[in-house]
Amino acid sequence: MGFSAPRFAARPSVDDGARHPVIVVGGGLVGLTAALDLAQRGIAVVVLDEDDTVSEGSRAICFAKRTLEIFDRLGLGRRMREKGVQWNTGRVFRGAREVWHFDLLPEPGHANPAFVNLQQYYAEAWLVEACLATGLVDLRWKHRVTLVEPGAEGVRLAVETPFGVVGLVADWLLACDGARSFVRESLALPFTGQVFRDRFLIADVVMRADFPPERWFWFDPPFHPGQSVLLHRQPDDVWRIDFQLGWDADPESERQPERVRARVRTMLDATVGPEAAFELEWVSVYTFRCRRLERFRHGRIFFVGDSAHQVSPFGARGGNGGVQDADNLGWKLALVLQGAAPEALLDSYDAERIPAADENILHSTRATDFITPKTAAARAYRDAALALAGEHAFARGFVNSGRLSRPCVLAGSPLSTDGGASGLAPGTPVPDAPVLRDGVATWLLAELGRDFTVLAFGDPAAAPEGAIVVSATPAPGVLWDHEGLAARRFGAEAGHVVLIRPDQHVAAHFDRFDAAALAEARRRAMAA
């Protein structure tokens, strides 16, 4: 079969008492992304992971367009697109009947699809390779943090390894250790929100089947009456099936292979046919929660990903939200460590990512409330919306099987400047567009690089020095916006100047070039 889990060698840490600029706790999807991003910015990173392999099971399978764009910058996007199952369409069924379908990327002209389905273990294995290739990431397997002592000058850690206990000190600690974060518990920080009184069986099933590469969601299907079922296709003929079980289900008996096989068999008999053969690869039973920390930065400790906020999976906002946290923090921490920006820049991580987490929690809570109605009234409205949706297009707007992850607009960010231009607002992630550079087809996002970028629309002669020029006509060295999509998506006219942050969000959008205003916007974007 496709994937065999790597075993990484645990080596003794011979630097007892050493101080490191950045220590990442947790070498999962988010921790490895953060480490790779920092290393590519020239920062040495130590990653401590209590295990010696990658994720078990597919877990965060749906990588959203914005995450793929981040992975493009990190050099892994192409690999994810080529291996992963690309999809843009979601179908919603009520009973056996399709109620409607939606297209998440209805217009062409983007390097990435709305989503790529890929088992989390592939992403992690490739991130490990990429981290090692930088020469700056020190991956320490079988290293379990057992003590966290925050201090004004650094964070002291005790780390248990197969070779004994070592002490390490971090200038900055990134807690990427998941929903049950040991670092968070050590600091006794409240992690508050709600638990949904429901249970879900999540299974990776290996089978040959002809379902198209789409997201299929059933409300009350004949093969699993009264509950919902979600189906996703993954590479290697692995299918991810989520069965809603209800609160009364017993998690122990539900995860027994025979019981799971019977559920899958019933589903396949009703959808593919009795001849369809399958094997179980991974099974888990979950209760979903939506909760977060009050703040994500605590002095020299940053909580990144699930350690900071937890969402239910409807909408694919967990892994994608965590990767966007890492993307938000990496450039800021690198600038501070390099002495190019003041520590105040790090406060903007809270200012920007707490609203993003709230947005993800809001959407995933609403979806979970729709799928698991809490009251008779909620159930009546849910069923009413589903009953209407087949024939009344307006009612489809009410049906919520998950509002799928969209990039967060950092509205109200303290790093943003109002440049006075109409069009794309500050805080918005830069939209992609096909462009030609000296006759070669490329993508706008691929041209942005890793640092601050100034985009100038229109005449190259009028553009600020060092700007990337986006022109409606071809000229040497410019990005020729040959379809006009870049200008349209930015809402930019000739003369507009856009300051773009290292994480590809707009910092300021000016309707004309003013050197002083641009310099001021750049200072503000670095909290200087």
Binding site: A376, A377, A380, D383, A384, A385, H392, A395
Partner: protein, 63 residues
């Protein structure tokens, strides 16, 4: 929207009777679902989020 403002419907008695009659023979759950469908259809017919929100608040106030 206070009660005495205006009567937008030319035959309120008929509408009232039709609303009640629509529930004839339905069990509690179906009756509830019927009402929910009516609310969603009417919210769409109103076509204005602010007015729908105001109606929700008004109904809740009077409970």
């Amino acid at each position: 929207m206070s009660g005495a403002d205006r009567m937008g419907l030319d035959d309120p008695d008929a509408v009232f009777a039709a609303l009640v009659a629509a529930h004839a023979g339905l069990d509690e759950a179906s009756s509830r679902r019927l009402d929910a469908m009516l609310v969603l259809l009417l919210a769409h017919a109103v076509g204005d989020t602010g007015r729908v929100m105001a109606a929700i608040a008004e109904a809740r106030r009077l409970i």
